[in-house]
């Protein structure tokens, strides 16, 4: 099986390595490391538990959906003995726990099973599409952060000014406008009128510049509403911090308003902002389906959509599990980022 099939096992390894990285980045190498290790292990344990629970829930939901894949494949007029033979071939006659464990062991060894409609291994289907959806999500997240951080910080540092009011008004709009509508406007302006970008489709990664260009409009359409939310969170979190006693203390030390903001308020304000970034990444990866439709991108969202229509349940099952896996890993990374930002989580009081 191809490399994407091995994602769960390798992903787990990556996370452990990352935790070491984060720890070193935090300048953390003394005798109290055990508290940090305990924190990371605790988070890791919760990651594994979440994955187990999620897999059971996904499996159960798919099982209770009416419509047996075998009968769907053979059509309504299939003979009972043919149906039974196909069921046996697909393993559908086995008891539920056996099928669950077969599915999970398959996932762990990279065997996602075969798609019933495409007649190809699910792993291949996913590996093609994840190279669209994952870069798109990361691209959108980077854009969203690049827009939101300066906007939020600027608005907070000049609270009540014309700039603040303008930015807050713009974020209000950004939250309210649906992203697919915004995507269509982008296509209208930049693809149809100005002809700077193509209106849809994805040329593949053979030419990275072309690929990035094809992802630019979808990434902007995804990023702007997220940036609006993130900017608002950044602003309010920073304003909370600027009202804290320790900001008054550093002002009394002789730091200017600006220095107090950048050196002290921003890092403390990042803690709630990180939570939102984690949630947003999950949304961008799994929730890009509408944007993928608008721009005709062969991403995971479209794959799920088509598989659901075709009752290709093994694909749905596996892709949903993969998305859940990504979301849980991202949350784990966010937890590690908390520890990097906030020493109260690294050491015991």
């Amino acid at each position: 099986m191809g490399p994407p099939g091995a994602v769960p096992a390798e992903g787990g390894q990556d996370c452990a390595d990352l935790s070491v990285l984060v720890r070193c980045a935090a300048g953390y190498c003394d005798g109290q490391a055990s508290a940090m290790i305990r924190y990371v292990l605790g988070r890791f344990l919760s990651l594994v538990l979440s994955l187990v629970v999620a897999s059971i829930v996904i499996f159960a939901v798919i099982e209770v959906i009416p419509g047996d894949p075998a009968s769907f494949m053979l059509g309504v007029n299939a003979r009972a003995d043919t149906l039974a033979a196909l069921r046996a071939e697909m393993g559908l006659d086995q008891p539920l726990p056996v099928r669950y464990f077969a599915w999970v062991t398959g996932l762990l060894t990279g065997d996602f099973g075969n798609s019933w409609t495409y007649k190809t291994p699910v792993a291949e289907l996913v590996s093609d599409r994840i190279w669209v959806s994952l870069p798109l999500a990361i691209y959108a997240l980077i854009l969203s952060t690049l827009i939101a951080f300066p906007a939020g910080i600027y608005a907070a540092s000049r609270r009540g000014s014309a700039g603040d009011v303008t930015i807050m008004g713009a974020t209000q709009l950004g939250v309210a406008i649906p992203n697919f509508w915004f995507a269509m406007i982008l296509v209208l302006i930049f693809a149809i009128n100005l002809r700077w970008f193509s209106a849809g489709g994805f040329p593949g990664w053979d030419n990275p510049m072309q690929a990035l260009k094809a992802l630019t409009l979808p990434a902007i359409a995804l990023a702007l509403p997220q940036a609006a939310i993130l900017a608002r969170v950044m602003r309010s979190s920073l304003l909370d911090m600027l009202g804290e006693d320790f900001i008054r203390t550093v002002r009394a030390k002789g730091l200017s308003r600006r220095q107090a903001l950048w050196r002290h308020a921003v890092r403390n304000a990042l803690i709630p902002v990180l939570t939102i970034i984690g949630l947003q990444f999950s949304f961008l990866l799994a929730g890009g389906i509408i944007i993928e439709q608008v721009f005709f991108l062969p991403g995971l969202g479209r794959l799920i959509f088509q598989s659901i229509s075709a009752r290709d349940l093994i694909v749905v099952e596996s892709v949903v599990m993969l998305l859940v896996f990504t979301v849980i890993v991202v949350n784990f990374l966010v937890d590690l980022a908390y520890a990097a930002v906030d020493p109260r989580l690294r050491r015991k009081a």
């Binding site: 055990s34 508290a35 290790i37 305990r38 292990l41 804290e244 006693d245 320790f246 008054r248 203390t249 550093v250 002002r251 009394a252 030390k253 002789g254 730091l255 200017s256 308003r257 220095q259 050196r263 002290h264 890092r267 403390n268 930002v341 906030d342 020493p343 109260r344 050491r347 015991k348 009081a349």
Partner: protein, 531 residues
Amino acid sequence: MSLLAIKDLSVQIGQAEILHGINLSVQAGEIVAITGESGSGKSMTALATMGLLPRGAQTQGTVMLDGIDILTTPEPALCQMRGNSMGMVFQEPMTALNPVQTIGAQVAETLLVHRNMPRREAHRQAAEVLQRVGLTVPPDRYPHELSGGQRQRVVIAMAIALRPKLLIADEPTTALDVTTQARILALLRELVSAFDMGLLIITHDLAVVADIADRIVVMQKGRVVEAAPTQTLLAEMRHPYTKSLFAASTHQVDLPDRAPAAPLLRVANVDRDYPMPREKLLGPRPRFRALHDISFEVEHGERVGLVGESGCGKSTLTRAILGLEDVQGGQIMLDGQPVFTGRHPNLTVRRKMQVVFQDPYSSFNPRHRVDRLITEPFHLLERPPTGPARDAAITKALADVGLSPSDGRKYIHEFSGGQRQRIAIARALIVEPELIIFDEAVSALDVSVRAQVLDLIADLCRKRPLGYLFISHDLSVVRTVTDRVLVMQAGRIVEQGPTEDVFNNPQHPYTKSLIAAAPQLPDITHAPETV
């Protein structure tokens, strides 16, 4: 020329005039204390001196520091002066430090902002300054790993790292225990003489003022009402407000006598353990014993005080007595019945016991009217009064605490701190409990209001036998409102006995140190010596 000379300072924010024509001065090596009740403008005077007034504040007059007028100095030059020629220490050490930076880095920042030096050198000097203020923990610690007193030392280190000419300390010891307070005050005094620094200390605590200050400035409602050298002021006290302030802080209530009675609350050999985080990855969870073998009794109508420093287990004991948490050893009985049965507080016992908390601002639901707030304990009764009986109970409870029946229709924000504490007492009284727990119930109040609330408690005792457990860190208050006192240290009761005996002749070394550390107002008829 004075180091600091404030002349005719007025500050206006919006339409409200906060300060009116303030005049005061501080010489090098002199300790000047500003005192007064909340809202008197003490802190605003300090912030004006630091050039840290809130935005939109309109000022008049001059604030001259070493010949430079702070009020007309542009912001960049003020940044140069703050931390360099003037430093400030704030009230709340728990929140005054950046939680995500080490204490060493925070002290080094003062040096780095003002002096051109390598980072390594700044950290070395910061470690020296931290030692200078008597901090024994290494500079790579984070604020949450330090106690309140240690954090206050860090804040002081940040303020004095560059040896400013003027140090402003705004209620620097208000949030600290008495023994810690004594050490911090001693440190400030020592730094003033070592650095020949001027110290402007702001405190509502007159005992602290009398103890440390060379000169006292009394403020009321944004004006200076009296200012004089400490001895002169204590001896003469020209202004009636000064007199009332001192009278209120030494206020003695007239507690009615009581006859011995049967025991009401019986706490026998109580232990309370909390699980702690594991020390090793898979090791057992260590336990922290918050209460060790606590035993005492409170009789019907007896007034018992409980004193001790923060972390000694006072709050844990309160929760255990209220039956909010189970105990790991021993038993707590009220009127012969256990306060905790199975997994729940015992309701038949709970209605005989009520509690009044410290913070009158956060212990009420702001969206309920007072009549609903004070009838909250009715849910403990099997058949709560309704209709006219309920109204009568509300009227009586409000009258008991000196409020009128019409106050029942108001919301809590319409009342001052002292009135809110009266309402909290009314809420406790409405079910006519046998025992009231006052948990730091007067600690957040100004001295004059505190005196009134203490008088109210004494009055209530006169009307009917009222037993209470009065928990406080303030020894002078406990002394005047209790018959008997318990002294707690590190989860144990180290001494107990009749209040006057314990205060006059403490046996345990800890009790002795507590009483010695508590600053006392000098007997006003004799001029005290200043240090």
